[in-house]
Symmetry: C2
Subunit: 649 residues, 2 copies
């Protein structure tokens, strides 16, 4: 009709909006599946390879070490050696402290810095990630398992559950990677992580009051209220000795950190500070015998490497459930931190990291760890940052760290006998204060209020309720935001930008001029069941308002819907369009015109027969074409009555 | 710079993309709130009114009867009278049968067709909605309450719980309306409702096997498996008499329906059929004393109007929880059906219905009902359709029906003593078969596969598991679809449509021609945390592929992102853009150019300082402008080296 015959000016055949040819269902299904699960197209490299080459490529895919090891040089090793020793000096005290945080025997912290780094060095694709335990996950394990089993009353079972949870965490992480479900981690937005980390850091600091004040009994709950209660309920048990000691070391640590921040060349000062304070503290206690004056010490640490723990995994109900729950929650959080850290450093050094591959690596590392008396590990930000500053070149720095820890385990454990817990608390607090990123929160407030709410929700949830709840709140708000965006899409009136063919939002471009007799609406979201009826209401309201405003002038005769931003439409959306057409046909005999619909929309319009109702000649490539056609009709048909003119087209 | 000074051709100041002036936070917040909760702007009419007028308008807003009653004429009343009597003849048998479906005393069905219609006639804004009980909600009440309390062992408590649930349902519905949360109902998509209704209808038909076969004992479960089991476990209790009787009446009912469908003039034939068959059946039983031969009858029905039931509402734990749950679930479903029905008929007759107002009306009607021995009512499709066909003009037809039912309650109840249950079963089955809309399902399959999955999920869930589960499955799939759309947005390469300024998707328009040295990408969704990292990966892959494809030719130098369809962006999205810029700057020195960003995007770009990084002169009104600028740079700067040329701009 019209459009084909070129009845309208400038609407020759080439500019028609084509209906895409029908594709077999399975075909579209496959492409969608590929886009969803294999957006990075990992098999591309395999395509034109055969036989043994393929096997080698496959091995290289799962063991990146095979890629960089052959070209590994002594020069690289030197830098890795320095970096490795540096992070080791940080890893040992942190490992011990975080293990205490999870109510696990301190030695586990060292174990966990030995086996997992070796595994990751083989499988990991990041060059800067330094493997180790993290405060938040440790705290989570402590609180979640603590609700079921008391670490003091039944330490053996508690330990077994910790291993089992670690195993499940690893299994879950690896499964996510193998099933290409990496994008689940993306649902933890940056805002969520900022708020969550801040909250967790606050909670962890609060937990340290136990060590700082040398308290014997302490609540297992993590929320602000109950912690403060339990601290002030036992004012008389406070030990000034440990408090003083703790504050001194905390001050020392913060000072060194501040110094290193000012002079990046001296990064090693803050990196070495924890080990230094451990040594100082131990010597101090050894000389003054402060352990008899209310300063608690680590005490005896068993010599020797990781004992196997495969036999102590417990898959028996009722405990398997709590282990599973803990494993999945902590696993996701550890994964999110590890991948976020890996990605950010990869961006600095400008190399690529495959999220799914990382998941498999981290997962395997945890599964192996759970069989060798390690608990949940990932790539902590603090340690990786030190690793990066220390100038690491490859994952070899992890191997160096592992060896250093091994030597400690074999020969040096007795030296930690007199290490005061308060020093460990100081180390944790110092590390945590760095994680409360209030500047990021302020930035969020300036850029995006909703993200700020997400962040705040996560923070308050973690601090006042519990770590899990905080996470749930944040994710819920984030998803709600997405749903609300779809449920309440923006519809805006478009106007012509002077001396151009462009039509833009009049609220955004003050210069844009509206066309008399024509209302141009732009829909800014996919048309789904969630917004279909809203859009129907909104569009009819736009028309009412337009009619009221244009009293006397040329009355409204054409409604142009700019479908450019309508990425997709479902059946509810289709029927919405039908209803809109019926309504405006009936009460004000306005003609519905579509501009620039995407191929998905065109396909559904044609398959749902509404295309005939609208008329293919009333669908245009650009808004400009549509307006041209409308003006053409308006002016050629003003004299004669409209109906007959309609028939012409 | 460039763009401002008009260095590029055709980029004079008028065509710059403006950064919207900063608006006070509360201001934007208010507008967003208004768009979300008051899209229909209900207070518009109040604006230029004062004092008493306002009060009257307010009353009219909540009691639409005040609007149409004054102009109500005898002519209108005649049509309403006919329609009212017709639906009454349908209401009485249906009421009794549905009450049985909810395991409630049959008389409640009549009660529920007396008070609620009167309330709705005053408050409802639909002219065609006929108020009454519905099969699905009745079944739900039966199954959900039946899980907690046995209607046979403890009928009194069961009855009280039914009233309480109805009260909660009404409260919930009215609250939704008052809180302007009407859009929650929109999340039950058309596909969901089709599948859900079909499933519910199937389940209801299965339940009727009890009545058809004259069985004494029957399972309370509603799923296919257990129903079939319980039917075939008692083959020897089957009563052929009632089976034969039932089949005859079912055949009769279907025949009349078929006839009326063929000849719309004779709509009253199918409308009167149920009452006819009730009368025939009763007479038949009375004459043949079939009640002694295995044909169960209704038996004694108490004379008199609704007794008050305010005292029998039970808010005591543990039962309050089940009442609350039942109330909310059934309330939402009843609401969805009522509003869907009201809207569709309003569309036929082309008048407007306010969803939130309807919710308040339906809610109040149920709350009042729960105080006068009625259980959950709404606007059933079948009855409203008959009302519409019978030519009702206003809600007065509901009043007529109520009066007819009142007369029945006062004088005619004894006549129902001999009514055989099997006839009621036949009536229900006949009604339900009309609700299984397989054509709609086929249509869904043709138009939108995902919607078909939603529909199928709802259907299978209802039939094989339970009514609630079916609903949950459907809503879950629908929301997952929305999330997936946001998590995996389409990115497409654009090309120039010959002899036009338009740039369109090359996969959609075969004629579109790509521009050498320039890659134009279009992002088809808001950039959120959920898709930020995906988009980063995808864009870099596009660049790689482009570089591979354009070997030898002019290498890629400009990446133009068409932001036209990016309705909104959050902080994760902003940092994604920063990262993309860093990446393409570093490894292939490609310049990032933005085209046609919306005002929200511009605002965030500027507030997050990335605008400086990109350079305001590299943001263009249209893709055409951007391409023009890029070509200008490419050709003028080919001879000289690019860097110096960059500095020129």
């Amino acid at each position: 009709m019209g459009n084909a015959d070129g009845v309208f000016p400038g609407t020759e055949f080439a500019r028609r909006v084509p209906v895409p040819p029908p594709r077999p269902f399975l075909d579209t299904f496959r492409t969608n599946l590929k886009e969803t699960f294999f957006p990075d197209d990992p098999l591309r490299q395999f395509r034109n390879e055969h036989g043994p080459r393929r096997v080698i490529l496959g091995l290289k895919y799962f063991l990146p070490i095979l890629e960089w090891a052959p070209s590994y040089s002594f020069g690289l090793f030197k830098s890795d050696l320095i970096a490795g020793i540096t992070i080791a000096s940080l890893a040992i005290p942190q490992g011990i402290s975080y293990a205490k945080l999870a109510n696990l025997p301190p030695i586990l912290g060292l174990y966990s810095s030995f086996v997992p780094p070796l595994v990751y060095a083989m499988m990991g694709s990041s060059r800067d990630l330094a493997v180790g335990t993290v405060a938040v996950a440790s705290l989570l394990i402590g609180s979640m398992l603590g609700n079921e089993v008391s670490p003091t009353k039944d330490p053996a079972l508690y330990l077994h559950l910790a291993f089992t949870a670690t195993f499940f965490a690893g299994l879950f992480q690896a499964a996510l990677g193998l099933l290409r479900l990496g994008f689940i981690v993306d649902f933890l937005s940056h805002a969520t992580i900022v708020g969550f980390m801040g909250g967790a850091a606050t909670v962890v600091c609060l937990q340290q009051l136990k060590g700082m004040l040398g308290l014997q009994h302490f609540t297992t709950a993590t929320d602000l209220v109950s912690v403060v209660k339990s601290v002030f309920s036992q004012v008389h048990q406070w030990r000034w000795e440990s408090a003083v000691l703790g504050c001194c070391f905390l001050f020392f640590l913060l000072l060194t950190r501040f110094f290193s921040k000012r002079r990046p060349k001296f990064f090693w000062v803050s990196a070495a500070a924890p080990l230094t304070s451990v040594i100082l503290g131990s010597v101090l206690v050894y000389l003054t015998h402060a352990e008899n004056h209310g300063v608690q010490v680590i005490g005896y640490l068993k010599k020797g490497l990781n004992p196997p723990s495969a036999t102590s995994l417990t898959f028996m109900p009722p405990y398997i459930m709590v282990a599973l729950k803990t494993g999945i929650v902590t696993g996701v959080i550890a994964l999110a931190e590890g991948i976020a850290v890996g990605r950010s450093f990869a961006m600095f050094k400008n190399y690529h990291i495959d999220g799914n591959k990382e998941m498999i690596a981290i997962g395997t590392m945890n599964m192996v760890g759970s069989l060798t008396s390690c608990y949940l590990t990932t790539g902590p930000f603090s340690r990786s940052a030190v690793n990066y500053n220390a100038g690491c070149k490859t994952a070899m720095s992890n191997v160096v760290m592992a060896i250093a820890v091994m030597i400690t385990l074999l020969f040096l454990t007795p030296l930690f006998h007199y290490t005061p817990l308060v020093v460990l608390s100081a180390i944790i607090i110092a590390a945590m204060l760095g994680l409360i990123d209030y500047e990021a929160a302020i930035h969020l407030w300036h850029v995006d209020k909703v993200d700020f709410c997400v962040c705040l929700g996560a923070y308050l949830g973690v601090v006042f309720v519990s770590v899990e709840i905080g996470l749930v709140i944040a994710v819920f708000i984030s998803i709600l935001r997405v749903l609300l965006f779809v449920a309440r899409p923006r519809t805006t009136v478009l106007g012509n930008i002077p001396n151009s063919m462009a039509y833009r939002r009049v609220d955004q471009y003050p210069v844009a001029q509206s066309v008399p007799g024509v209302l141009i609406l732009r829909i800014d979201a996919p048309i789904y069941f969630a917004n279909a009826s809203y859009l129907r209401e909104r569009i009819s309201r736009w028309i009412e308002e337009e009619n009221e405003s244009s009293k006397g002038e040329t009355s409204l005769q054409y409604l142009i819907l700019d479908m450019g931003a309508v990425g997709s439409i479902d059946t509810s959306g289709i029927s919405m369009l039908e209803e809109v057409k019926k309504i405006i046909d009936r009460n004000c005999s306005i003609k519905l015109v579509l501009a620039n619909p995407g191929s998905e929309v065109m396909k559904k319009l044609s398959s749902s027969k509404i295309l005939e109702a609208i008329g293919h000649e009333w669908i245009f490539l650009t808004v400009a074409d549509a307006v041209a056609a409308c003006n053409f009709m308006l002016h050629t048909c003003k004299a004669s009555d409209t109906t007959s003119c309609e028939n012409v087209v």
